[in-house]
């Protein structure tokens, strides 16, 4: 009898605790980013997320007058984490793709990307003849998918947990070529110590790549709020200021 009471009591407590969590979550927008995709999102020396994505998220929050939290999460755990409500939105330079649209919704784009190959300076590069080359990309990215679709079985493909490890293996010589988004590569070539020994190979492609904030399927309320705030910061010059902080040209 006593045992029954305890069980009932704890069940009630648990329900109360759970419901209070959901109430709190409604007032708050929890953004997730990766933190390993400079200059769009990275962790600064104090351990805080920084970068273009993070600045945009902060500007949107200011416009929406929402209480925001920005957390970091490994790249391939972002969409699963969103689905199980660990956070409400992903702002991590994520491209809108057909595969992703099956599991999440996206806001309007907040910048445009494109893919571009990169390799050692001076080395010959021919897109039609990559046989026997080792090509690297980050797992679960547009670049990785493009490689799987077009070079599976033709070249040696290697997929990494994050972009930093891709760069490490390019520098060490394990990789001949890297396929990644053009803008972060541009940043790495310009700013990193090893970047000077490498260059873009060929032109950028898939330039119609729209990068947007991912939200849970059917979360129309948050989608509208984010889209409205996005239009506002684009109109009032906040967006352009953030853009100029990272790139000398418009990336919208």
């Amino acid at each position: 009898m006593k045992f029954k009471k305890i069980v009932l009591g704890s069940a009630l407590l648990l329900t109360a605790a759970l419901s209070s969590v959901t109430v709190q979550a409604a007032d708050k927008v929890r953004f997730a980013t990766e933190g390993a995709w400079a200059p769009f999102n990275f962790i600064d020396s104090a351990g805080n997320p920084q970068g273009f994505d993070v600045d945009i998220a902060r500007a949107l929050c200011a416009k929406m007058q929402a209480d925001c939290e920005i957390v970091t999460q490994d790249w391939d755990g972002l969409i699963p984490g969103l689905k199980v409500r660990k956070f409400d939105a992903i702002i991590a330079s994520m491209s809108i793709t057909e595969d992703r649209l099956k599991v999440v919704d996206f806001t309007n784009k907040y910048y445009s990307g494109g893919l571009r190959f990169m390799g050692r300076t001076g080395e010959e590069f021919n897109l039609m003849d990559l046989e026997g080359k080792t090509i690297g990309a980050q797992r679960a990215t547009l670049g990785a998918q493009y490689l799987e679709d077009n070079f599976e079985g033709k070249a040696d493909l290697k997929f990494y947990d994050n972009q930093d490890n891709v760069y490490l293996d390019l520098v060490s010589g394990r990789l001949d070529i890297v396929l990644s988004d053009e803008l972060p590569t541009y940043n790495w070539l310009k700013t990193s110590e090893d970047g000077s020994k490498f260059e873009f190979k060929g032109d950028a492609f898939m330039k119609t790549d729209n990068i947007a904030i991912a939200i849970r399927k059917g979360d129309k309320k948050l989608e509208d709020k984010l889209n409205k705030a996005l239009a506002e910061i684009l109109a009032n010059g906040t967006y352009q200021k953030i853009n100029a902080k990272y790139f000398p040209f418009s990336i919208y």
Binding site: P80, K102, V103
Partner: protein, 236 residues
């Protein structure tokens, strides 16, 4: 939950499982071969001979396997000297880097298991060997090592299963083992529950096979203990 993805990708999961098995088998064989001399040095009466394996075991048991893999894979490749050495063709390959890290790691653990087993042999048996005039070599070859082998089996079977689970870390250095393959599939399908459940199931099946094999070897090796099974009294 949609388990049709599991059926669709099952052949690729099995491919991954095959890579995992290779990783575990090769490093267990190499690690076991290294472990024996390390264990023997560890129980040497000479102080400085004991110190080297002690430091080795201390390092590899005291640091995470993930750190060891990263040190071998990303760490070593930072040095031009390594990249220009004759070892580069091996160190360039993630598969062999994983084998090196796993072998070093498991040899440290296995050496400790061997040492414990050798030291667990009753002193009386050692004395008996000496009394009948065996040389040290004969004593180890005829009595101590075969006895230790029987004692070591349960703990050693454990170590292999730990190694199987540890092999999942190979996925962090681009190897498409069972875990790496699962993650690559999930990158496409966004069905982590289904694919990871299937992968977990395959790991379990491999573990069961390993346990069964060791049970058989144990029964055979320790069959002289056969009648000594402990009777548990019925609950009254």
């Amino acid at each position: 939950m949609d388990f049709s993805v599991v059926i669709e990708y099952f052949p690729r999961l099995l491919q991954g499982a095959w890579v995992s098995l290779q990783l575990v088998a090769i490093s267990i064989v190499l690690g076991g071969a290294f472990a024996l001399p390390i264990a023997l040095a560890r129980i040497s009466p000479v102080g400085w001979i004991r110190a080297i394996p002690f430091a080795y075991i201390f390092f590899f048991r005291g640091t995470p396997l993930l750190v060891q893999i990263f040190l071998v894979y990303y760490g070593a490749s930072q040095f031009d000297a390594v990249r220009e050495s004759v070892f580069w063709p091996i160190l360039k390959e993630p598969f062999w880097c994983a084998i090196i890290a796993f072998t070093l790691n498991t040899s440290a653990y296995t050496a400790e298991i061997f040492r414990g087993a050798i030291q667990a042999i009753p002193q009386g048996e050692v004395e008996a060997c000496k009394v009948v005039g065996m040389s040290k070599f004969q004593m180890y070859r005829r009595i101590l090592l075969p006895r230790a082998f029987g004692i070591v089996l349960p703990a050693y079977g454990n170590e292999i299963i730990l190694m199987l689970k540890g092999s999942a870390l190979a996925s962090t250095i681009t190897i498409l083992d069972l875990t790496g393959m699962s993650r690559t599939i999930i990158a496409r399908t966004y069905t982590p529950m289904e694919i990871f459940l299937a992968a977990g199931g395959i790991y379990l099946v491999i573990s069961i096979v390993i346990i069964a094999i060791f049970r058989q070897i144990e029964l055979r090796q320790n069959r002289y203990l056969g009648t000594l099974s402990i009777k548990v009294p019925d609950k009254g």
